[in-house]
Symmetry: C3
Subunit: 446 residues, 3 copies
């Protein structure tokens, strides 16, 4: 029966044990949290390996030094240890205690220097004296340490010994992807950055949510092909686009996922065009959630939507977060830890993405087969027998809407938006009318 196809997804969602799913996602984030990730190196590979134990991922690589559009793949960075010893020889900062203590991509150093000279390499947050900031220097060869401002304030004058035992050497940039083929080659893209070390909301939350979503979609009947990307930020998206330049035309809808574990309201950052189908779909779903949410125009700063929306690609890709980057105080600090992300928020994000996928899968255009006047629903048992009541009831009204607007120019989403009805109800109504031969698809499907 026609209803069963999209219905499967709805059944998957309604059958989901949200508490268990939330716990499982939080556990994945907890497993990944201690790894020192970067845009290259062993930590990134260990992360992709962990995801690969849950999903049949394809692994890809590009060699250091390769050109990807205007960029060059940097040398691979790996780090073993890093510390600062104070004049008494005590380790006052130690990478072994927190991955954020080292400026990511620091060049190796082993030296003695005065506190004054050292201070030029220290990064702190004076306003948040107990948090360690997250800093990087991927493309400028330098080194540095990040630490709590309160700790930096307590450093005594004298000679310090600093050591960063890291390597920057020929290697590779890694990423992983999962393609779930559907009835058509048209693609839905989910893209997450996987390069941040020991930051939970940014972006272990989305790795966990995307993994859970992919696991569910593996078992769903799919009209679209789904592509999940787990890539280093910026350079990874650029490398992927360079490698897939001939393929991106198949992307019909795309979502960059980030910061999906905090309890804040959802924020949709629109595609560059602002009115692509994915913008309408996500905003329709958020509007229907009955909760606080926000849509914002595209800006060229943020996550990998920057690359997907560059003018030479201009892909229909927006970005879903809860509280966006830079707008929660813990952002890019050690306080973005496992306590910031909540199992229920992760489950809620998963649920919202399933709803988005349900609209993507279920939206299509039908033609009313009896377009001149209303068909007689009553003799088909589709309409209340008793007349004169002031209100036709939600189901009858949905039938009238679907029949009235199924003229080849309105999709089910158009109808749901205009009628202010839940997508589910509209889709189920269309299936019912199709079963009664009052609707037929507007065009044969591939």
């Amino acid at each position: 029966m026609t209803m069963s196809e999209p219905g499967e997804l709805g059944a998957i969602r309604s059958g989901l044990d949200r508490a268990a799913a939330g716990r499982e996602m939080h556990e994945l984030a907890s497993e990944l949290y201690p790894i020192c990730r970067s845009i290259t190196g062993a930590g990134l590979r260990a992360t992709l390996d962990a995801l690969g134990r849950r999903l049949p991922l394809e692994r890809h690589r590009v060699e250091s030094g390769a050109r990807v559009f205007d960029w060059t793949i940097p040398p691979e960075w790996n780090i073993r240890e890093a510390w600062i010893r104070d004049p008494r020889g005590e380790k006052v900062v130690d990478f072994a205690h927190h991955n954020l203590h080292v400026v990511n991509y620091s060049v190796p150093v082993h030296a003695r220097m005065s506190l004054d000279a050292l201070r030029g390499h220290l990064h702190t947050l004076p306003d948040r004296p107990h948090w360690i900031p997250y800093r990087t220097s991927y493309y400028q060869p330098t080194w540095g340490f990040c630490l709590e401002h309160a700790r930096a304030e307590r450093l005594v004058p004298g000679e310090y010994e600093v050591k960063i035992d890291a390597t920057l050497a020929d290697g590779q940039l890694d990423w992983a992807e999962l393609v779930l083929p559907g009835e058509t080659r048209d693609e839905v893209l989910f893209s997450c950055h996987a390069c941040h070390p020991s930051l939970a909301n940014d972006n272990l939350s989305s790795l966990a949510v995307a993994t859970a979503l992919a696991k569910l979609l593996q078992h769903a009947r799919r009209r679209y092909t789904y592509r999940f990307l787990f890539i280093p930020g910026t350079i990874g998206a650029i490398a992927w686009l360079a490698a897939n330049e001939q393929r991106v035309h198949a992307i019909r809808h795309g979502l960059v996922l980030a910061c999906l574990g905090d309890p804040g309201p959802f924020t949709w950052k629109r595609s560059r065009g602002g009115d692509r189908p994915i913008d309408r779909i996500v905003e329709f779903v958020l509007r229907g959630s009955g909760r606080k949410w926000e849509a914002r125009p595209f800006t060229p700063y943020g996550y990998d939507e920057r690359q997907y929306n560059s003018p030479g690609f201009d892909l229909p890709v927006g970005r879903l977060t809860r509280t966006p980057n830079g707008e929660y105080p813990e952002y890019h600090t050690s306080a973005d830890d496992l306590s910031l992300i909540r199992p229920d928020a992760l489950a809620d994000s998963l649920d919202m993405l399933l709803r988005v996928v349900e609209v993507i899968e279920g939206d299509r255009v039908y033609l009313n087969t009896q377009p001149k006047c209303e068909p007689q629903l009553g003799r088909r048992g589709l309409y209340g027998a008793l007349g004169g009541l002031p209100d036709p009831g939600a189901r009858s009204l949905a039938m009238l809407w679907v029949l009235n607007l199924s003229d080849g120019r309105h999709s089910l989403l158009d109808i749901a938006e205009r009628a202010e009805l839940p997508f589910d109800l509209v889709r189920e109504t269309a299936a019912l009318l199709e079963a009664h031969e009052l609707l037929r698809p507007a065009a044969p499907e591939a």
Copy 2:
């Protein structure tokens, strides 16, 4: 003189004795109120006969059993008597007292039964215990009685005798129409349903207003052809559309009229397209009325706008009511009686429709014959002699607006909307400028 043509309509409106017109419309409603109408049968014919004594109506019929699009014309329903006798033999419900006491289109019945068995056939309004509801069952063969909830509560246990002496037999569906030909074959449609028994606002009010409007338009010079339909709801509109399928392309503007006798503010329900000329015209007139009013988007539930706006027709037809169906407590109950409709409200509805017709008739596109710079209005005596005053005066300003926007792309309605001037003033100004050869019609008229 050019001004005289549309001016006649304005003269008709300004010469109208509103008090007399209101009384006359209320008297027509009072004459029709006692008749037991339905979508077929003698009551409907008696109603059309009464209208036919006021207007030279054409009568049409379709036989029972005929197919009209997806529907079949039902058997004709006629009723002689109907009552319920209580265990003591007393008539506790009697159709002779109120037409609403019988579910419209009830099948005949003569039986004895317990109160419990009877209750399955009784319809009441628990929230409005002294009102009789209006219920129908046109397409499901059943029978029933409607009564005051308070009366139903007082029924004592025991054996009841029920009788409905009605027939459902081969016959016909009737309607009436009036066509007032104009200079062009382009049509303006007014459509009223005429099938409701003993309900005053829904819809004797509109039968009365449409009759009064048609009588006035009979004596007006008409650019458009006007078509008035007095039809049974739903099946009548479907039958009319089926019979006139090749003709409806001529409909340029259409209004379904209903609920025009209560004192509530006007409500315009837009056409399915939402921006057809009739939508702009009616909203312009309502906006200019200086009173409370409302425009609402199309929905596929309501009166016969449902059929005219079905996707296979998509006609430019909206609906004018005062308080809409289902939004006043008396709707579809015995309280929708002659006291609910007011002569002054009926007169006010007639006035509003005349204003709408004035815009329909008067709107056209002119060309400024001196489009480069302003023409010198002063030497034609069209402009104040003394310069330097801070304000040109309303009439001069209207001239400047009409001249400035008469570029072939703006109609007089466009100009009135943009200049926020009354349509009358703009139309009269255009006539004056045309008389001075500063304007000419944009295209020859048929």
Copy 3:
């Protein structure tokens, strides 16, 4: 370097001594104030002579009696003296004391008459009893005096002697213009009326501001050709349009200037189209000023925008004023004197026009030469070395915006509007990116 071209204008503006400029403009208005101007005659010529001592103006004339579109150039009006003597022989009104005392374009008269007969020729402002109104009668042969209402109230009965020693004779209509050629023949038009006698804000203010602007633009590098018109109102604009009918297609942007000396907020009256580039430019500049301002739709009443926006021309011309005509109490009265216009308001108007010209000159369309993904700004030294900061900084963000939107469909103004960034920053950013070969002009410039 590319930046230098539009930068020159910015340097001119930032180098402007606003206090000195304000004083100089007020002095010019003071010099012109005593002259009795009209739409023709010696006063108009004296005014154009005074402007010609500051700018290399071209002078133009049309003979009395010539046809200009629908109009005829009127005879030239000149006046020597005019007075009213009361029954005691005292001059109770004397043109020698104020130019406004005579209805402009009065026919000559020398007569004796009663006070009652005289009153038909007297114009006063009962609500403003100490102000003299400004009245004209260019095209109706009549005569009259304007005076303070309080003075008119004190006139005693008896025989009055009136004399207006004026001539209406064959002559000419004069105007002056200045053309500052630019790299292209595309024109920017500034138009001021120069016909009002002894009225400061309306319109000596704009003659002064336009003169100052023209002097500054003489020394600027110009992409556009600038045309300044100093013309009598209405008939002068009509005469200019008639003489330049084949040339007006070159006008890309136009501003009518008036009432620029009072301290009120700026008011932009949009072009007839409402969305021409000049509308967007001026509104962008006003929005960016951080001060109160207003944009209004076009109306066909006002100054010479009426003629430029007549349907046969429909030029992209709006109007910049501070408080508009008719909206300040002193408008068209003797109270619109030199105290109403302020040096700082004049300087502020000049500054605003310079900012408008900067956008006109600086706006253009670029193409991102690396449109696929972001270019690597860091290796060009264009991006902060340290990553992880929550905010990229205004300059980096401007670069990202310009790169993202430079797809051939967005001009720098489009980018500044969408990014809500100052035009200066966007233009300078574009120049920087062009210098780094990350942008190139979308099309070769003429």
